[in-house]
């Protein structure tokens, strides 16, 4: 059970009508994303004999029940299936599988913005993530 996790928008001030136009008003039909920082670790290269695994660590831009977007110093290939862990607060991290849906250069500086869709699989915390997101959305 997967859902697409699309690109959410650009800079905060550079828009046609500065006072009333925001990135979100340009993106009214997408799934709701909770803007906020959670820890993200992605295994971008699996270990092989003689070669260790390479992990990319960072913070999210926003999260949802079906995906996450983050800023990263390097690009990731679209379509890649990669192990991802998401860490909320001081809780145990959630181990998940993510598919890279989009990757584009950051408009406001160096690096990339990446969107991942979380995929259902055994041996992952997919259900637990959904439940955690439901709890988060009920907060604030």
């Amino acid at each position: 059970m997967t859902s697409s996790y699309q690109n959410s928008g650009d800079s905060l001030v550079a828009s046609k009508d500065l006072e009333t136009d925001t990135p979100e008003t340009q993106d009214q039909r997408e799934e709701y994303r909770l803007a906020g920082r959670v820890g993200v670790a992605i295994e971008v290269e699996a270990a092989q004999p003689g070669l260790p695994a390479r992990i990319l660590q960072g913070s999210s831009r926003d999260i949802s029940a079906s995906g996450v977007s983050l800023n990263a110093p390097e690009a990731l290939p679209e379509g890649a299936l990669l192990p991802v862990t998401l860490t909320l607060d001081q809780e145990e991290p959630f181990t998940l599988m993510g598919e890279v849906r989009w990757c584009e250069p950051r408009p406001e500086g160096p690096g990339y913005r990446i969107g991942l869709t979380l995929l259902d699989s055994d041996d992952t915390a997919y259900l637990e993530w959904k439940e955690a997101m439901a709890r988060l959305l009920a907060m604030d």
Binding site: L12, S59, L81, E91, V100, M139
Partner: protein, 637 residues
């Protein structure tokens, strides 16, 4: 002056309305305000109250909000952080600085206060038309504004907030440019005072020093404004008079220049025209304007006198002679009449050399040839012989600031008013000091060519604030709706998944039980049949082999490696990325997560049997690798 005077009710008009008031025109209704400065019609205050809700609940993508329990935790004091940014006079935004502090967890209200301060200040200043140096200095108040918004929410930007009034007063500085002169020093001194005041406010956790600065500043501006009004009033009267003089001078010069061109006249008549009649022409323009009857008469008499004085124009034969008689009879009388009209008080009338004209007339009527000499060639512009046509759009120009480039310097000047007598515009420094005059048509051409640029009209801080907050309020409403939907959907999806897993587990248990029962039944049926027993044994052996292979397949965890087509040149090593137990689907990818291969568990078992696949490892490292990085991890139950 129409309407109440500016000072009697504590009101100050905007520049446009000052001019209207001085000229005796009606002040525009929307110009009146309740505060001490006059701005365009006040906006509704409804949105200011939305500040609190926005600060507490809005989430903008990309901002460093806390999530979950962190969002509920006590926030850290950010006063020192903002004070430091202010002290360094950095041009970075509040949000940029917050984002840089990756190890610090900012609260929702801190992040949103920073965002709001950045947004409001940037929009206000971008549309202000102020000089870039001033914009960048004032923009740094964003740190103070963020702190105050976080502390007092809507009170920080309410109508009575001193900051708001101060920001609106900056419109008075639209004419300021960094020229290196005395006004620069005054301005930078004030900005240094502001810097000091805000620093003290941060360190004392109080807005008293800042408010004191704003108050002193507003008093200064008020005093300058009053002085400027007085200067402007005087300047207008002076320049209108001067324009009238110029128009009269040029019109008289043009009339004489055209009439005398190529003529030969008695010297006495030339003197009369230049010394005596030219002032009459000027007076006609000054008092009644070009195009008036008085001017037409004076001009006509000039032409008649030249006609009479120059024999090449007025011959003595036939009709010409009769005409000379008629003109000669009336000429001096009509001259008297014009003079009497222009100077109603006899004591003020100039003394004209009429005898010179009379003597000329006698000479011409007697047929005598007066001594002639060439009339002086005067330089003139005959466009002054008619009134300049007032352009229909001139009122849109008055009372506004304009920008032009002088080499690399950016200069600002204020179009104070249009002078209808000369068709010119009067440029000032905005404080009643004349910079010069220019033909309106020339100015309009410069605007069209881009050499001159009109600065944007005033937009008050309140207007910007309300429009910004209005937009964010709408956004928040949409976010809240979408969030609620997302919450319901997440709960529903989790419930669906849970039930599916429960069903799968139940089905798996049932399958195992069914297999066990079938096996028992088969064993019982075949107990007495040796051949059947052999067949069943064979089947069981095959089944056991397949079960063993499937068990091997099922023992491969996420991250486990297999090799397809081993020992061939097409050999590929792939790791398990997804396993869907319900469907038996397995998805493999390469080391970089690409080049996926989807197999069913049965397919992989068959490949293992045919030795077209090999299991390299079962993926124990999958959890180990990540757990080393992120600590003890949670996987599916």
């Amino acid at each position: 002056m129409a309407g109440p005077g500016p000072w009697s009710q504590g009101l100050v008009y905007c520049d446009k309305c000052v001019i209207d008031a001085i000229l005796g025109a009606r002040c525009c209704g929307p110009c009146f305000s309740l505060s001490s400065y006059c701005f365009i019609a006040r906006e509704s205050v409804v949105h200011v109250n939305a500040v609190e809700t926005i600060i507490r609940q809005l989430r903008i993508p990309g901002l460093p909000y806390p999530v979950g329990r962190q969002a509920q935790a006590d926030e850290s004091d950010w006063t020192g952080f903002l004070a430091s940014a202010w002290e360094q006079q950095t041009d970075a935004t509040v949000i940029a600085l917050l984002k840089e502090q990756e190890s610090v967890t900012w609260s929702m209200t801190q992040v949103n206060a920073g965002y709001l301060a950045d947004r409001i200040m940037d929009i206000f200043l971008q549309k202000s038309g102020l000089h870039p140096t001033l914009v960048s200095r004032v923009a740094r108040l964003r740190f103070w504004l963020a702190w105050d918004l976080h502390r007092r929410h809507s009170e920080a930007v309410s109508e009575s907030a001193p900051l708001r009034e101060w920001l609106d007063s900056l419109d008075w500085l639209k004419g300021w440019s960094e020229t290196g002169g005395r006004s620069d020093r005054q301005m930078f001194t004030q900005l240094d005072n502001l810097r000091q005041s805000v620093t003290e406010a941060f360190s004392g956790h109080s807005d008293t020093p800042v408010n004191a600065f704003f108050s002193q500043w507003l008093e200064l501006i008020d005093s300058q404004h009053r002085r400027a009004i007085t200067l402007q009033q005087r300047l207008l009267l002076t320049e209108q008079g001067a324009a009238g003089q110029r128009a009269a001078e040029y019109a008289a010069q043009a009339a004489l220049g055209r009439s005398l061109q190529g003529r030969h006249l008695p010297p006495a008549i030339t003197r009369f025209l230049l010394d005596d009649w030219q002032p009459v022409l000027r007076q006609a323009v000054r008092s009644f304007g070009v195009g008036s009857q008085q001017w037409r008469h004076a001009h006509r008499l000039l032409e008649w006198l030249v006609w009479v004085a120059d024999p090449s124009l007025s011959g003595l034969a036939g009709e010409e002679r009769d005409k000379l008689y008629q003109v000669g009879e009336q000429l001096i009388e009509k001259m008297h009449a014009v003079v009497e009209t222009l100077w109603t008080k006899p004591g003020e009338r100039p003394s004209l050399d009429y005898p010179a004209v009379e003597s000329l007339l006698v000479q011409r009527l007697r047929g005598e040839a007066p001594e002639l000499e060439p009339a002086p060639e005067l330089s003139y512009d005959d466009s002054w012989l008619s009134s300049p046509e007032e352009p229909a759009d001139v009122s849109q120009w008055e009372g506004r600031w304009y920008l032009f480039l002088d080499g690399e310097r950016e200069l600002r000047q204020y179009l104070f008013c249009y002078l209808p007598q000369t068709g010119e515009v009067l440029w000032t420094n905005g404080f009643g000091v004349k910079l010069g005059t220019q033909s309106f048509l020339d100015a309009r051409a410069e605007l069209a060519s881009g050499y001159l640029r009109c600065l944007p009209p005033l937009q008050s801080f309140g207007q910007v604030l309300n429009r910004t907050l209005g937009g964010l309020e709408q956004l928040l409403a949409v976010q809240q709706q979408k969030r609620q939907k997302a919450l319901l959907r997440a709960r529903e999806e989790a419930e669906t998944l849970r039930r599916a897993r429960q069903r799968e587990e139940a089905a798996q248990a049932q399958r195992l039980e069914d297999e066990r029962q079938l096996a028992e039944a088969a064993a019982r049926r075949s107990a007495d049949d040796a051949r059947e027993q052999e067949r069943i044994a064979r089947l069981k052996e095959e089944q056991d082999r397949q079960d063993a292979l499937l068990a091997l397949v099922d023992a491969v965890h996420l991250g486990g490696w297999v090799e397809l087509d081993p020992d061939t040149d097409k050999a590929r090593r792939l790791k398990l990325a997804l396993r869907i137990k319900a469907s038996g689907k397995l998805v493999f990818v390469d080391r970089l997560g690409m080049n996926r291969e989807t197999l069913h568990r049965f397919d992989l078992a068959a490949l293992l049997l045919e030795e077209r696949a090999r299991i390299l490892d079962q993926g124990a490292e999958f959890e180990d690798t990540l757990s080393r990085v992120v600590g003890r991890i949670r996987v599916g139950r």
